[in-house]
């Protein structure tokens, strides 16, 4: 661009003119820039690898059957995570039961019914904004609304409701994405045969969109399962010695147990924390695997 005013001089074989030197310089800068950018990507990759290596080397020795089925203890070598693992699974199931129907319904409204009305536009803006609200603010909402005002106490239900509100924007946004990918002709064909709007959505649009919706749901729930801050804020107990048995039970979850162990000064508990992280990551991975399996199954049935 700097040579924009000069006449093209590189038609013949260039001798060492100032222009050719500048060209060479530019080429060097270009390569240097590429190397720098590649370096950044390598750093990102390396930090992921280091993180995994660090946690595996700290925690792999501690993971055992006793660790998984044990309860919390004041002695690191006897401490386990059964209460936290069951708590996490229980909370996520209740969260899904609340967030999935509401989120999918809201997405259907916005995508299929709302159109360009002012109301739909406001709701849309609001959802985008909610998706960027820090998770700890949802914790304060849960503390004020569910734990205190609605009197749920520090129960599984209060925790799951809080997490449900937290993931709702993600569920809605990803479901809308999946619905948008369904071709318009499918809807029009259904209408042409006399189906009503809801019949079209229920029998034609949703089955086709299901794999996409499922993927989004699992992604949203995997975010919820790693959430710590909002559950600490609503007061999930850090030292429980039993697995939760009803939605009114007090509970703790894996990330909170990990946080509890990391925060202790004794080194032995840090190994427990790393082992807890490994279990948490295993849980996340199996959720994602389940999502892929479900999606494939659904896809075959839905489209054949």
């Amino acid at each position: 661009m700097s040579t924009g005013t000069s006449r093209p001089s590189n038609i013949g074989p260039a001798v060492a003119t100032p222009e050719s030197r500048e060209l060479a310089l530019r080429r060097v800068a270009d390569v240097a820039f590429q190397v720098l950018a590649l370096l950044v990507l390598v750093v990102a990759l390396a930090s992921l690898a280091t993180l995994i290596w660090d946690i595996v080397s700290d925690g792999a020795g501690t993971v055992s059957w006793n660790f998984i089925t044990g309860f919390s203890s004041r002695r690191a070598s006897q401490a386990g995570i059964w209460h936290a693992l069951t708590g996490s699974v229980f909370v996520i199931i209740v969260t899904a039961l609340i967030a999935v129907p509401i989120g999918v319904a809201a997405a259907i409204y916005l995508e299929e019914y709302g159109g360009r009305s002012v109301g739909a536009r406001i709701i849309e803006l609001n959802i985008t904004n909610l998706a960027a609200v820090p998770s700890i603010i949802y914790g304060l909402l849960g503390l004020g609304l569910f734990v205190r005002m609605m009197g749920m106490g520090r129960s599984v239900l209060a925790g799951a409701s809080t997490l449900a509100l937290l993931v709702l924007p993600v569920v809605i946004l990803s479901t809308r994405e999946a619905l948008r990918a369904v071709p318009k002709t499918l809807r029009e064909g259904s209408y042409a045969l006399g189906a009503t709007k809801w019949q079209t959505i229920w029998h034609q649009v949703l089955p086709v969109a299901a794999p996409g919706i499922l993927t989004g749901l699992i992604l949203a729930l995997s975010r919820a399962i790693g959430e710590t801050a909002p559950l600490i804020t609503i007061g999930a107990v850090t030292f429980v010695t039993f697995a939760p048995d009803s939605i009114w039970s007090p509970f703790t979850v894996l990330p909170i147990q990990i946080f509890n162990w990391v925060s202790r000064p004794q080194v032995e508990f840090h190994a427990n924390a790393a082992a807890g992280i490994l279990v948490l990551v295993a849980l996340l991975l199996s959720m994602n695997a389940a999502a892929i399996w479900l999606r494939d199954r659904y896809q075959k049935r839905g489209l054949s």
């Binding site: 609001n126 603010i137 790693g226 990990i258 990391v262 924390a273």
Partner: protein, 345 residues
């Protein structure tokens, strides 16, 4: 895809379809009646209008139900604002707002409590600034590379890695910051405290990197091809085109990504709660322990603070400040994104 609508038994709702959740009282007689009497493709107005009205009533009911679910998101926003406002107002009745906003000491749990929020704000800004120093250049560079240089094969490797980085639970990053990055830094900087702003700041930067990278990349991919080709036609190299044409053209989109990243850094909780310490301190020195707004909320929540006390209300007042701050940043970011979209619509 076009197979299904032409299959009348499915499109008009066969008995099998009913069992999948439509109202059993009205739909079967109506749909089946129509199915038998009306061959597909022939528009015949049903002579019996009674069930039809029933269907319409259900349709309206369903639409209202769906609308109610969508409205719940507005309810969430109102809920957040209401809960925060109620407790913050109660807090400000006991502590003058000038002391809260401009006081330089935060010791609410002491016998002689002081409620100046500035140390918490300073701690938050310090850690966020370090995070942005890591995430911005790295995120922008990797975005330029992914958008302008990288081939499909490399993208297929790098994108999932970035997604994994973004999907790791933050408590794991906290562990990494406290037990790996800080000890590593201490080898180079011997007077670095065990809890400090630097380690968690760097780790937070790595956590935010995928957000900056993917949003900036989206913005750059939105820049029309013609601009690039014009630049090449003038003899510019790829780097000159990227730096002097594509990045400026995508500027509002990239800025939107940056602001969203700042908002994310300010609201991030677990990394700082684990690795930055719990000492509210008005300092710009990244080697000292600090406390952020979010870490303070966690600290109080871990203790058993009874409802209605002043300490209980402090977390809502701090939360209010946090909410207003991130909300404004998000609004600016959304506005910039909108502007960017209009530029190249």
């Amino acid at each position: 895809m076009t197979l299904r609508p032409s299959d009348p038994s499915r499109a008009s709702g066969s008995p099998r379809a009913e069992s999948r959740g439509e109202d059993p009282r009205v739909a079967p007689s109506h749909v089946e009646g129509r199915h038998v009497s009306t061959p597909p493709g022939v528009a015949v107005r049903p002579s019996n209008t009674e069930p039809r009205r029933g269907t319409r009533k259900i349709e309206v009911l369903i639409e209202w139900g769906l609308f109610a679910c969508a409205l719940l998101s507005i309810g969430t926003t109102i809920g957040i604002i209401a809960v925060l406002t109620i407790e913050t107002v109660a807090f400000l009745e006991e502590v003058p707002i000038s002391e809260f906003l401009f006081g330089t000491e935060w010791t609410p749990l002491f016998a002689m409590p002081r409620f100046g929020v500035l140390p918490l704000v300073m701690g938050t800004l310090l850690v966020s600034a370090i995070a942005m120093l890591v995430a911005l250049p790295m995120g922008l560079l990797s975005a330029v590379y992914l958008s302008e240089y990288a081939g499909e094969r490399l993208r297929r490797v790098v994108k999932p890695v970035l997604e994994i980085l973004a999907g790791i639970p933050t408590v794991v990053y906290g562990y990494f910051a406290l037990l790996f990055v800080t000890p590593l830094l201490q080898r180079v900087m011997p007077d670095l405290a065990g809890f400090n702003a630097l380690g968690p700041g760097i780790v937070m930067g790595i956590m935010i990197l995928p957000l900056v990278s993917s949003l900036s990349e989206d913005a750059m991919r939105g820049v029309p091809r013609g601009l690039r080709e014009g630049s090449y036609a003038l003899g510019a190299t790829k780097m000159q085109t990227s730096v002097r044409v594509v990045v400026p053209a995508a500027f509002s989109g990239i800025t939107a990504a940056f602001i969203l990243a700042v908002s994310r850094a300010i609201g991030e909780t677990m990394i700082v709660a684990i690795a930055a310490g719990q000492q509210p301190r008005l300092t710009a020195d990244p080697t000292k322990p600090v406390e952020t707004m979010t870490a303070y909320i966690v600290q109080v929540s871990l203790g058993d603070t009874p409802q209605g006390t002043l300490e209980y209300r402090t977390i809502f007042a701090v939360g209010m400040l946090l909410f207003v701050g991130t909300f404004l940043l998000n609004l600016v970011s959304a506005w910039l994104r909108e502007r960017f979209r209009e530029e190249y619509a």
